[in-house]
Amino acid sequence: MGLLTDPSAGQGKLVKALLKHYSKLCVLLYLGGIIWFCSIAHPAINSKTYFSENALLPGLVKSHFYGDEMISMFYNELSDEMTKYDDSIPYPWLLAKFKQIGLDSYTHNFTLHSPLAKKEKYSGKNIYGILRAARSSSTEAIILSAPYRPPVSVHPTTAPSIAVMLAFAKYANTKKYWAKDIIFLITEHEQLGIQAWLEAYHGVSCGHENILDHGDLRGRAGAIQAAVNLELHSQEIGQIDLKIEGLNGQLPNLDLFNLVSKMCGKEGVYQTFKNVIRRSYDEPTAIDDIFPKDTSMEKWSVTINNSILQIPNGNHGLFHRFGIQALTLEGFQESVAGKGAKKGLVNIGRIIEGTFRSLNNLLERFHQSFFFYLLPSSDRYISIGRYIFLCKM
C-alpha cells in the first residue's frame, strides 16, 4: 500500500499526454500569458470605470472654494521662509499659520537611527493641524498631505501644494458640514516622514525596532478613511497626474481614483495617468481601434513596470498598509498636450474641495470597488479576475 496515489500506477491518457508534451505546453502557456497580458490593454477586453459606492455622490455639490489672493499670499510668505531654512522644514511659520487658521496644530519629531552606520542619526519634523468636525464626534478622519521639499532638494518643489493646503484649511474651517475630522499634514524627508507619522499615529513599528523612532503624537483624530497627497510644482497647473502605486504593489480603491479623476474633469484640468491624458468624458471608446492612441504598448509596459517594481511613487504609497486609501495628485506646469489653458491653484483647491465633500458623504470605508486592478488608461480598468486569466469575468 503506502501512498494513496502511486505515480507510476498510470492515471489515464490525459496525464500521460501531459507528461509527454509538458515542455511544449509550458512554452505555449508562457507565450499565451504574454499575449493575454498585451491584449488586455485593448478596449474590447477591458471595461469602463464606474462608481461603485453610491454614498459618494461625486460632483453633485457645487464647489465654492475661492481665495486666489490668499493662496498667493501664502505662497509668497512660504517662499520667503524657505530661503531662511536651507534644508529643513520652516516649522515655526507653518505651526503659526495652522494656529492662526484655528486648527489644533502639533509638531511631530522623529529620528532615524541609520542601520548602516551605528552612530548616525537623522531627525525630522512633521507639522500637522486637525480640523475637528463641528457637529459630529471625531471618530473618523481624512487627510490632506503634502511633502515639504527644501530648496536644496533634488525633487521638484511642492511649495504651491502647501499654499493650497493652507488656503483650503482656512476655507474649510468656516464650514460646518464636515462629518469627519480633516488632518492637514506636512511631512519632511519624503517617505520617511510620512512613514514615521503613520507609525506614530497607529502606535506600531513597521520595520525593525529602533531604526525609525517614530516618537509620539500629541494630537490625534479617529480612524483615517482616505488620504490625498499633493505634489504641485508650480502656481499654474497644466496637467494633474494621478499616482496610485503603493508599497508592495498595493493600490487604492478604484472609487477614489475615479472620484479624483471626475473632479479634475469637472474643473477642466487635464488629468493624466502615466502621462496619458484622459479622454473626454463623453467620448465613446472606439472598440475597433487596435491600439487607441492613448494606450500604446510603450505606455502599457510602463504601467505594468511600475506595478512590478512595487515601490511607492509618492507618499500615498505608505498609507495603504494601514488600510487607508490614498493617492497623489502631481501637478505640472506644462501638459503633455502642449495646448490648453493652465488652471490656477484655486481650481486645484476646488478639486480638493469636491473630493473632500464626497469623502465626507461616506459612511463606511471604501469597500465596494476594486482593490486589485490595472489601469490601461484613466477611464478603463482591468480587474484581477481578468488579468489573472482564471475565470471569465
Binding site: L60, V61, K62, A134, N361
Partner: protein
C-alpha cells in the same frame, strides 16, 4: 284681490311643502352618505431608508406629510415614520432643515413636525404591529393607529424596493405577502373603511400585487422591472432632493384645497411616463367605488360631511327621573378646613 291672495297663499304653501320635501330629501342623502362613507381620516407615512445619500426619501415623506396636514388631517391622526435624521445630520449644510426643492423655498421639516417613529424604531416589526394594532400595552397614543371601521387610511411608503420587497433600514425587508397579510388583518379587525396605498420605490408595483383585502386602491411609482428615478439635484446641498413621482404628485396636491372636487381618477393619472420615465402602476380591482367618483380629499384630507340646517328644531328634551335613588346619608365631617399659613390672596410686594 281675494283671488290673488289665495293664489299667493297656495303658491307659498307649495313652496313651503317643496322646501320641506327637499330638506327631507337632503337629510336622507346626507344620512345615506354618512352611513356608507368614512367618518375619519388617518395617514401612515413611512420612510424606510437611512443615510445621507437617501435624503430624497425623507424629503418625499415630509412633503406628503405637509400636504396631508394642510388638507386637514391632524397630527394625532398622522403616523410619521422616518428612518434617519437628515435635519441634524452633520453633513447637512443647512442644519435643522429638509428641503424638497432645489430653490429651497419650503423647509418641509419646519417647527411643528411630529415624528412618531424615528431612527431605529422604524422596523418591519413596528410597522406591522402598528397596522394590525398588536402593540404592547403602554405604547403611547401617538404611536398607535387608532382607526375604526369608518376610517379612510392613506398609507405612503418610500425607500429602496425590489421585486416583491421593500428594504427597511438597510438590514431587513418586508415582503409583499407580509404587507398584504397585514392589510387583511386590518380588514378583519375592521380597522379601515378604505385604504389608499401609495408607494414610491423601485419596482413599486410588486408590493401591491399580493393584496387580497377589499376596499384598497393602490398606486406605485414604477412597474416590476423598472426603477423609479429621482427628480433633480440640489447643488448647494449636494444630494438628490426629491423623487420624480412624489414631485409630480405634490405638484398635483398643491392645487387641491379642502373644498376641491378633484377626483382620485385624476390623481392616478399624475406623472405619465414622459415625465416620470417609469410607468405608474395602479391597482383598482379591490376598490368598490369608481375612482372617478371619489374625492381626493377622501384620502388626503379630513373633510367631514356637514349639512347646514336652515332652522333649529325646537325639540323638547325629556329627562327621565331614575327609579332607584341612592339614599344620601350625611356623614360626620372627618376633615375640617384649615386656612393656609401664607395667604396668597394679596399680591406680595
Amino acid at each position: 284681490m281675494f283671488l290673488r291672495g289665495t293664489v299667493l297663499f297656495s303658491f307659498l304653501l307649495l313652496l313651503f311643502t317643496n322646501s320641506c320635501h327637499s330638506q327631507a330629501q337632503n337629510f336622507n342623502n346626507f344620512s345615506r352618505k354618512v352611513r356608507k362613507g368614512h367618518t375619519n381620516n388617518w395617514a401612515v407615512l413611512v420612510d424606510t431608508s437611512r443615510f445621507w445619500f437617501n435624503y430624497r426619501h425623507v424629503a418625499n415623506v415630509l412633503s406628503i406629510y405637509r400636504s396631508v396636514k394642510r388638507l386637514g388631517i391632524p397630527d394625532s391622526q398622522i403616523i410619521l415614520m422616518i428612518a434617519d435624521d437628515m435635519a441634524c445630520n452633520p453633513r447637512n449644510p443647512r442644519p435643522a432643515t429638509v428641503f424638497n426643492n432645489a430653490n429651497q423655498h419650503i423647509n418641509v421639516y419646519g417647527d411643528d413636525v411630529e415624528v412618531d417613529y424615528r431612527g431605529y424604531e422604524v422596523t418591519v416589526e413596528n410597522f406591522v404591529r402598528l397596522l394590525t394594532g398588536r402593540l404592547p400595552p403602554g405604547t403611547p397614543r401617538s404611536k398607535q393607529l387608532l382607526t375604526d371601521e369608518g376610517s379612510n387610511v392613506l398609507v405612503y411608503l418610500t425607500g429602496h424596493g425590489g421585486d416583491g420587497f421593500l428594504k427597511f433600514q438597510d438590514s431587513e425587508e418586508i415582503t409583499s405577502q407580509e404587507m398584504a397579510d397585514a392589510l387583511e388583518q386590518m380588514w378583519q379587525k375592521r380597522r379601515y373603511h378604505e385604504t389608499f396605498f401609495m408607494i414610491d420605490t423601485c419596482q413599486a408595483a410588486s408590493m401591491y400585487e399580493r393584496f387580497y383585502s377589499p376596499n384598497i386602491l393602490a398606486v406605485g411609482s414604477s412597474l416590476v422591472g423598472e426603477d423609479s428615478l429621482s427628480h433633480h439635484v440640489d447643488p448647494a446641498i449636494g444630494v438628490y432632493i426629491i423623487d420624480r413621482y412624489t414631485y409630480y404628485a405634490l405638484e398635483f396636491l398643491e392645487n387641491v384645497t379642502p373644498q376641491s372636487n378633484n377626483t382620485m381618477a385624476n390623481f392616478l393619472k399624475v406623472c405619465p411616463p414622459s415625465v416620470c420615465i417609469s410607468t405608474v402602476g395602479v391597482r383598482s380591482d379591490l376598490f368598490r367605488r369608481d375612482p372617478e367618483h371619489v374625492h381626493i380629499t377622501d384620502f388626503f384630507g379630513s373633510v367631514r360631511p356637514i349639512n347646514l340646517l336652515p332652522r333649529v328644531t325646537n325639540q323638547k328634551i325629556v329627562t327621565r327621573k331614575s327609579e332607584t335613588t341612592v339614599p344620601v346619608t350625611t356623614k360626620p365631617n372627618k376633615y375640617r378646613y384649615v386656612p393656609p399659613l401664607v395667604n396668597f390672596d394679596t399680591i406680595a410686594q
